[in-house]
């Protein structure tokens, strides 16, 4: 199971890329929009960087969420 945490959401929270793997169709739109934290594997599925989305890429990150055709690309605090 994932590590249970009791983390509270802070105002200076960071955003991390996440994928619903059961929904992702490997369209790759997320990697096009957000090359800082998303690349594609040899089958076209996203490889996510551990590090948070850089501040200057936040808008593109939100676009990646809304433009993912499978509604699979997510941002987590």
């Amino acid at each position: 199971m994932p590590e249970p945490t009791t983390a509270t959401t802070s105002t200076t929270s960071t955003l991390r890329a996440a994928v619903d793997w059961t929904a992702c169709q490997g369209h790759g739109a997320c990697a096009d929009l957000l090359p800082e934290v998303v690349s594609l594997d040899e089958w076209g599925y996203p490889i996510l960087q551990e590090r948070p989305v850089p501040a200057e890429a936040r808008r593109r990150a939100r676009r990646a969420v809304s433009e993912c055709p499978a509604l699979a690309f997510l941002l987590k605090r």
Partner: protein
């Protein structure tokens, strides 16, 4: 009790052997008889597996009544005992229980307990043996866990096709109508059925397949309520901890269950204390390697005593019959407690190829990396298992290592992670075989795999003590 649908399994206990040998001794004085009987009774009360299935009356005669269900006490005992999950991931039970309780408090919802007896792994038999022999110990554990976290309902999930549900429904009726109702549910006999989000999905009326969890099941599980999923053996441990205390549990006297396999013989469920040497669990069998944990586990080289400790690579150490069976001594997790000894006349590459094919077919195919990676890994191992002169051995190894990396951590469940662990360990432990095969040579060809890749057909039980 009708145990005729229990798959073939033998049961052996290495626990408290001294006390047990006294059972049938003829003693002269009344006092002596009493002392022996007491020693035996005490020993039995600390074990998970009785020699025969216990109804509620027999259970209470051996283990005594369930102790007071005070949440604070149970939580403290769980914490101090260091109890960890027996279903595969060895996660600390206390931390999970505390997380569920806290999530329920914050959401103002009543949490749910799910006792996981799915045991979808075809090589494993310990959970079914426990459910047949000590169902009330498991149900005690469910009651304790429910009381500890404040749950108002519980489920006990068992694998279909063994008649377990009917047996357990009957068993459950023998108990005093407890505060927390327990629903016994049969899950499909598939490898993935016991994954926690698959259980939640199934209990919610969906398919028994893992699902994407925007929030983990300890926050949002069955019916949206915070859910504690705990392996049935973990819960049985909790029932013993509640009776004998966390200090007893930590002392090394407490036992756990293993499924021991050797070649094609009937598996044996062995109950043993930590630190028991491997050869005491497996008996006097010799072999070249051992699969520890399960099909998501690790192959380790098995060697004569003189060569113990040889580093085979990437944290995989050779072990011997004298190595004690603990995660520390073996250097790998004990997973779900499978110990499968590979004899000298078998091929570890053939075994691994067969297991990988099975795991790839069992994948729900919902997640891209798993859907693409697992069949490729299985096919590549199929190549390694074939003795034929080839020049692309290094390429196959590189592909396998890369795919193992690509599938890890990239699915809705940990099935690909476990599959990758198995493949990586086989590449190391059976490296010499892979070299030999690529030169067209083979020590143990044409033997079919010994490890099962589908649930055995139910048949007459051969339970012995």
């Amino acid at each position: 009790m009708n145990a005729s649908v229990l798959p073939p399994v033998r049961i052996r206990s290495l626990a408290n052997a001294n006390a047990n040998t006294n059972t049938n001794t003829n003693t002269n004085t009344h006092a002596n008889t009493h002392a022996n009987a007491n020693a035996t009774a005490t020993a039995a009360a600390m074990r998970l597996l009785p020699s025969e299935p216990l109804d509620h009356q027999a259970h209470r005669a051996i283990y005594g009544d369930l102790p007071r269900l005070d949440p604070g006490h149970i939580m403290a005992a769980a914490e101090r005992s260091g109890l960890s999950g027996q279903g595969g991931a060895a996660f600390p039970a206390y931390r999970k229980m505390a997380a569920v309780r806290e999530a329920a408090r914050r959401a103002r919802r009543r949490p749910v307990v799910v006792a996981n007896g799915s045991e979808g792994e075809p090589a494993s038999a310990k959970d079914k043996a426990l459910l047949w022999h000590a169902p009330h110990l498991v149900l005690d554990g469910v009651a304790l866990a429910a009381a500890a976290i404040g749950a108002d309902r519980a489920f006990l999930a068992v694998e279909g096709g063994h008649g377990l549900r009917r047996y357990l429904v009957e068993t459950n009726r023998q108990r005093p109508s407890s505060a927390v109702p327990v629903t016994i549910v049969e899950v499909p006999s598939r490898f993935l059925s016991g994954q926690e989000s698959a259980l939640v999905s199934f209990l919610d009326g969906g398919p028994a397949l893992p699902r994407f969890q925007s929030r983990p099941v300890f926050e949002q599980g069955v019916g949206g309520d915070p859910t504690l999923v705990q392996n049935v053996e973990t819960l049985a441990h909790l029932a013993l901890i509640a009776r004998h205390g966390p200090a007893w549990y930590r002392s090394g006297a407490a036992t756990s269950l293993f499924t021991v396999r050797y070649a094609d013989s009937t598996p044996t469920v062995v109950e043993a204390a930590p630190g028991t040497p491997l050869q005491h669990l497996t008996g006097a069998v010799s072999g070249q390697a051992i699969l520890v944990g399960g099909y998501h586990g690790t192959w380790l080289p098995l060697e004569p005593a003189a060569r113990s400790g040889r580093e085979a690579g990437a944290g995989i150490r050779a072990i011997t019959g004298d190595t004690s069976v603990s995660a520390e001594a073996l250097g790998v997790p004990l997973g779900a407690g499978l110990l499968a000894v590979l004899p000298h006349d078998r091929c570890g590459l053939v075994e691994t190829a067969s297991i990988l094919r099975y795991l790839a077919l069992e994948s729900a195919g919902q997640c891209g990396p798993c859907l693409n990676g697992l069949p490729r890994m299985a096919a590549a191992f199929g190549e390694l298992a074939r003795p034929t002169p080839r020049s692309d051995l290094q390429q196959i190894r590189d592909d396998l290592s890369r795919w193992a990396g690509l599938v890890t951590g990239r699915g809705a469940c940990r099935h690909p992670d476990g599959t990758a662990r198995l493949a990586r360990s086989a590449l190391i432990t059976f490296a010499a075989e892979a070299d030999a095969h690529s030169r067209g040579r083979c020590r143990a060809c044409a033997r079919p795999p010994m490890l099962p890749t589908a649930t055995p057909a139910t048949s007459q039980s051969t339970v012995t003590d």
